[in-house]
Point group: C2
Chain length 422, copies 2
């Protein structure tokens, strides 16, 4: 599908207009729209599953692997989950209009900070069709219009989902252009979108490194990156070692393909001899391949735990797989140095019973989530209690870490006076 | 002065390294550095004023006008104000480490949101040398390294100021590279800086439209724009008309050259006949030139108040001068429509005694500052109580409106558990 420059601009202009109506829509109206969107998703099941089946067949013909096909696939169960996720957003608190702070000035002016929507959000993602409805619901509730640009492999599914969502929006009296799917598959139309400064207020790219680099290098619109997670678990010498094993195994093996999974284990020299065999066996039981520094290799080999030597490229690498780099460090400072050099500012964990050490770690580590005696896997919007997330930002600007409804808003100063002048 | 690409990158890399030390510097250390910086500014007065005199002489030779030369000029009084402003930042609360929120999850995890610095800030500005020390102080206190790129006309002054600031930093044991002046005057070196994604975390351009457009069109690093203020005062039919006159005159005439000055007055039809002659006379007394819609022209002409017809180009225009566009509108909706079309999302004011109308106005207007019965001139960091500001953002992302110390920080999630896993 070829999309002319003018068409891309027209989509964004329609979104901008819709955003004006959305910004002042009441909570009741937005929630009614979300519930209607969920109803229409269920109602459109036959059309939607047929469109998805075409996408899956085309991807299979194109030789995509099983993991890819699984991410792309919709069935009645997954469709129902999508509809429920949309309804769950209706149950979340509306961030728009929330007064986050108030104060009074010596001259009597009353100042309030009040949340307002960002405007128009451009969401760029890959092949999971559920992102289409999840992102649409979160943007709608936060009063933002959204342009959804999914992967070309899920184009038919996304179009069918967007049609169902638009039907719900119109039923509730909100602009159909509040949610629009941008035709996927061409870098030209994406390039055009990325240049629409003044029409698009925020771009959220979610996906592989190539996609994010492309967006970062070409965007003239504000981008909040959802980049890789090179997360570490640091086991300090004053750690409860059983706890450290549980946390390490969970951080690495509970879901290795996600960004908050651990990719590297750092172990204090003082406890390496005791801890490494214990955690090594637990990890190998979970089919984790270990790549260790020379000390790690020596200790594990003596203990009969399989391990290969780590190369420099194994540090700072996001495996997204059952592979873990392991390094023995001298102390807290060495651990902090390793993390500053190799971490991606996503999630970092320390296991220790020493409060002072934990204090330094949580203060000095720059990462969106810093965990003390908890798994890296908790750096997630749902787990932290944000309700739902549109992604996890690895940029410090605007939002750092899981982005929920609030992170899709800005704040304005509302000032109430009695005629004050300067 | 020609700066090679590699040199620009080296400056940014030095800033990045300095930012790591600054991020964990104590409040005491940062405040000691600020006080030392102020001392060194005073001590360097002879060198500094000599450098400034060269800048002023060169600018005069280049034919710059009196207003420009005045902005560029430093004297002992202005230098003392700069030193005091740096000391005043030492007295502000350190935002780094501030816990903004805490909560507990059902699984027992304790979550805190904690402020951390953004990293490296690039400040791009024009000819006022005081911005150099103001921005350096605010960035330092918020734990950020800063690259200062001022106008070429103030290059000698800025370099001398930066040297004094660096001496203060070193005296307090903080990296001298925390504050660096980037050689000005070439678009190539600016272009290079704007591409240093990953090394610079935030770019703040402050200046004319041309500069801001250039930055917005070329930056691959995050930009928070400090763009124009096309601010309106809307006098509703239920306004206290004496208050409305006071606010309008103050908003327009107290300092017409700043971004929170009013550029357009909107008057409800129901009070136009009574209000326009009154406010018109008060404005003309302050030497304000009025450009009105046909109704305004008719009413003012009958009342003997000088007025010329407004052209379409007068609406949405930032005069930064003693000129005011005036338009009579049908009602609140017409006023909201005008502001949505012509406003720049900077500051908008309503004068009314009707709380319901004020509620709709403050809710529905998208602007960083929305004033009810107060002058637009209050949308300012000092006036709102932020202590000091690095500028006024007109972008909704990250910070909207005056940016103080807090707006130079991000927040991370710090999670404390007892071994929880997912």
């Amino acid at each position: 599908m070829t999309v002319a420059k003018e068409d891309v601009r027209a989509l964004a202009q329609a979104a901008r207009e819709a955003s004006r109506a959305l910004a002042i829509a009441s909570t009741e109206q937005k929630d009614a729209a979300l519930r209607a969107m969920a109803r229409h998703l269920r109602k459109a099941a036959p059309t939607l599953l047929a469109a998805n089946a075409e996408d899956v067949a085309a991807a299979r013909t194109a030789g995509k692997n099983a993991a890819f096909l699984d991410r792309l696939l919709l069935d009645t169960g997954r469709l129902e989950s999508m509809a429920r996720a949309v309804e769950a957003v209706a149950d979340l608190k509306d961030p728009v209009g929330e007064v986050t702070e108030t104060w009074k000035r010596p001259n009597g002016l009353k100042v309030a900070k009040v949340r307002l929507p960002l405007g128009v959000v451009l969401m760029i993602y890959e092949s999971r069709p559920n992102v289409t409805s999840d992102a649409a619901a979160l943007c709608l509730k936060s009063g933002n219009a959204v342009l959804l640009r999914g992967g070309s492999e899920s184009a038919r599914s996304n179009q069918a989902i967007a049609e169902a969502l638009s039907a719900g929006l119109q039923e509730a009296g909100l602009p159909a252009h509040s949610v629009q799917v941008v035709p996927a598959g061409e870098r030209e139309s994406l390039l055009e979108l990325l240049k629409l400064e003044g029409l698009i207020d925020l771009c959220i790219p979610r996906g592989g490194e190539g996609l994010i680099r492309f967006v970062a290098e070409n965007a003239r619109i504000p981008v909040v990156k959802h980049y890789q997670g090179v997360c570490h678990v640091y086991v300090h010498e004053a750690a409860d070692l059983d706890m450290a094993t549980r946390i390490t195994v969970n951080a690495k093996a509970s879901r290795p393909g996600v960004c908050n999974a651990a990719e590297c284990l750092l172990v204090d020299r003082g406890v390496a001899e005791q801890f490494l065999p214990e955690v090594g066996r637990a990890l190998v039981d979970k089919k984790v391949e270990l790549r260790g520094c020379p000390t790690t290799v020596a200790v594990l080999t003596r203990a009969g735990v399989p391990v290969t030597p780590a190369t420099e490229g194994d540090y700072g690498h996001e495996f997204l797989d059952l592979i873990l780099a392991v390094r023995v460090v001298k102390d807290l400072d060495a651990a902090l140095g390793h993390i500053a050099r190799y971490g991606s500012e996503h999630t970092e964990a320390i296991v220790t019973e020493d409060e002072g050490v934990a204090g330094r770690f949580t203060r000095e580590v720059t990462a969106s989530g810093v965990m003390w005696n908890a798994s890296t896997r908790f750096n997630d919007g749902g787990e932290l209690g944000l309700g739902a997330e549109i992604g996890i930002s690895t940029s410090r600007l605007h939002a750092f870490g899981p982005m929920g409804l609030r992170e899709l808003t800005s704040q304005k100063y509302v000032v109430h006076g009695k005629g004050q002048v300067r």
